[in-house]
């Protein structure tokens, strides 16, 4: 019996490891290929490169239309930070109202918020574009950042509402008896206790803004404001041909570093966030 379990576990480990290697092989290959000379990327499929060069990184870093990748990274980072700050402020405020405060029309507005959760972005994108264009915002980061300050990511409002509702109500009540205002309760009780959910919100906001392409394609219309994902697209020609594979893979590899760092340093929040609310990845 004991040996049977042991063998079963061993087989499971082997299966999981083999499958896992297959899963991440493309990414490993990409990282390694980015260090291969351009003419060997096609011919050399092994993980151990026959020649190593950083030429791809040098030529890729030059960027597009005279703007370097350094600028693209800075742009993306700026947008991500703006988006995170916006979501943290606006979504937490909305979630506190929905999750804790009693007010006329609460169920109605909560229902409306839940409906917007399911709404495909495309039904609002054309008028939003027309609107932002009228404001003169096309070609700036504002169309990406401003909606975050207006709690437009209903996903996070929902996540935070769920979390805030799970906090013991006695704490608020005790604070109110002690003379705290609803604002005091918000800042001194809800925000500190909701930290895990806030980290999850910040994490996914950062990642989704980092990886977003559709909105960047629409609004970041000239090279000085390009994001990393928008800039990576310039490696792929209009007919789909790629002229400089080495540089494309090198910059693609660099673009994966921030998500990687966040993922491995904050793994716990990832798993909790996904498991409790089913955040799409």
């Amino acid at each position: 019996m004991k040996t049977g379990t042991l063998i079963r576990h061993l087989l499971s480990h082997l299966l999981i490891i083999a499958l896992g290697l297959l899963m991440i092989y493309p990414i490993l290959w990409m990282i390694i290929s980015s260090f291969k000379p351009n003419n060997m990327i096609f011919s050399d499929t092994s993980l151990i490169p026959k020649a190593v060069t950083i030429q791809n990184y040098i030529s890729g870093w030059k960027g597009y239309a005279g703007v370097s990748f350094g600028k693209f990274f800075l742009n993306t980072l700026l947008m991500c930070v703006g988006a995170v700050v916006g979501n943290l402020i606006a979504c937490t405020m909305a979630a506190y109202a929905f999750g804790r405060l009693k007010f006329a029309g609460r169920n109605l507005w909560f229902g409306v918020m839940m409906v917007t959760l399911m709404l495909p972005a495309h039904v609002t994108i054309v008028p939003q574009y027309i609107l932002f264009n009228a404001f003169g915002w096309v070609g700036t980061f504002l169309p990406i950042i401003v909606p975050k300050f207006l709690a437009m990511d209903a996903f996070f409002v929902f996540l935070l509402v769920q979390f805030i509702r799970s906090l013991p109500k006695e704490l608020d009540e005790a604070a109110i008896i002690d003379g705290a205002s609803p604002f005091g309760v918000f800042f001194r009780i809800i925000v500190p206790l909701a930290t895990p959910a806030l980290v999850t919100t910040a994490l996914f906001t950062f990642l989704w803004t980092w990886d977003d392409f559709f909105h960047h394609l629409l609004y970041l219309t000239n090279p000085p404001v390009f994001s990393v994902s928008r800039a990576l697209r310039t490696f792929v020609g209009d007919a789909g041909a790629v002229s400089n594979w080495g540089a494309a893979l090198a910059m693609a590899t660099l673009s994966m570093i921030p998500p990687f760092i966040l993922f491995f340093s904050l793994q716990k929040y990832f798993v909790e966030g996904i498991a409790t609310t089913g955040l799409k990845g």
Partner: protein
């Protein structure tokens, strides 16, 4: 008297506080959601062109006829304004591409995610580490970087073909450039990103009491029987949730299709996804009235499918505790 007044004041104050906290959301909802929705509904009945908004005309169901006209063999028609409009020869293609993708990728992805989750739901060491590794494709999968990588992998002389050649296959196609296979590379890309479904399944599996399986084993039920009699019914709410979420996002896939097709629908429009077609119509051709109409049809399609899934879920989802 005074007591009543304080009551009213408190009432107003209580509501005011909540509405202060909701101000950003309200502003966003009215300005960036409700108004745009109604506006795009209206645009859908016009020939709004972004470059010449002043000549916008109401064309009734013209945009909708432009989409679905080919079903009745129409190639052009006259709108109420007397304007002759050509039907969109690619719309139905984009619809079929998207449906193929949704119906293939969602079940495959969920099946794979469940299989891996069950494999991980054993008392094994290092499961958190394995789970992290399996999540990596999902972490990066939606990015342009991975879409660029995918192009490289599935080219005629890409990594996948090199692998297959070492296994003895010859005469391999360029998967991306062959209209028969191109969409399947995207289905595979979607299945590869099974990570979040897997984590949700894993959390669901952990909720199932181990005693059920032990009792079933004592009664002599096979593993397969246990899977269908215990795992599936008890996991069904989680399956429903994953199904709905994955379906909704599969209908809207854009980035991967855009990059793999190089900004177009690929060879013979074989990867002309719905949202890609919408983007091309709206932003390449500036036909934003038509793009808006397309967006509303997409909303209806997603809505109808979501309702269908929920309606049929009565038949296979059990919310009982299993007692």
């Amino acid at each position: 008297m005074r007591r009543q007044q304080t009551g009213i004041v408190t009432f107003i104050r209580r509501n005011a506080v909540a509405y202060i906290f909701l101000t950003p959301w309200f502003l966003g909802f009215f300005v960036l959601t409700l108004y745009p929705m109604l506006y795009s509904l209206w645009l859908g009945f016009t020939d709004y062109d972004f470059t010449q908004p002043d000549s916008t005309q109401w064309i009734g169901l013209g945009n909708y006829l432009k989409m679905f006209g080919p079903i009745w063999g129409l190639s052009q028609f006259t709108t109420s304004t007397g304007e002759v409009m050509r039907v969109d020869p690619y719309y139905l293609k984009s619809l079929s591409v998207t449906f193929t993708y949704v119906f293939a990728s969602v079940p495959l992805k969920l099946g794979f995610a469940l299989a891996v989750a069950m494999l991980m739901n054993q008392k094994l060491r290092w499961v958190p580490f394995y789970r992290a590794v399996y999540y990596i494709p999902t972490l990066l999968g939606g990015s342009v970087a991975v879409a660029v990588l995918w192009r490289k992998l599935f080219e005629r002389d890409g990594l996948v073909n090199s692998f297959l050649e070492t296994l003895g296959f010859t005469d391999l196609p360029g998967w991306i450039t062959n209209p028969k296979y191109a969409i399947w590379t995207l289905v595979l890309l979607s299945v590869w990103q099974f990570g979040s479904s897997m984590i949700i399944f894993l959390a669901g599996l952990k909720q199932i009491p181990q005693e059920y399986y032990e009792a079933a084993s004592v009664d002599g039920a096979s593993k397969a029987r246990q899977f269908f009699a215990i795992t599936i019914p008890l996991l069904s709410p989680v399956i429903l949730f994953n199904l709905v979420m994955q379906m909704i996002s599969a209908f809207q896939v854009f980035t991967q299709a855009y990059i793999i097709g190089g900004g177009s629908g690929g060879v013979l429009n074989s990867t002309l996804f719905y949202t890609l077609h919408l983007y091309i119509q709206g932003w390449t051709y500036h036909e934003m009235g038509y793009a808006s109409a397309m967006a509303w049809v997409l909303l209806l399609i997603i809505g109808v499918f979501t309702v269908i899934v929920f309606r049929t879920s009565d038949m296979w989802v059990s919310y009982g505790t299993g007692e």
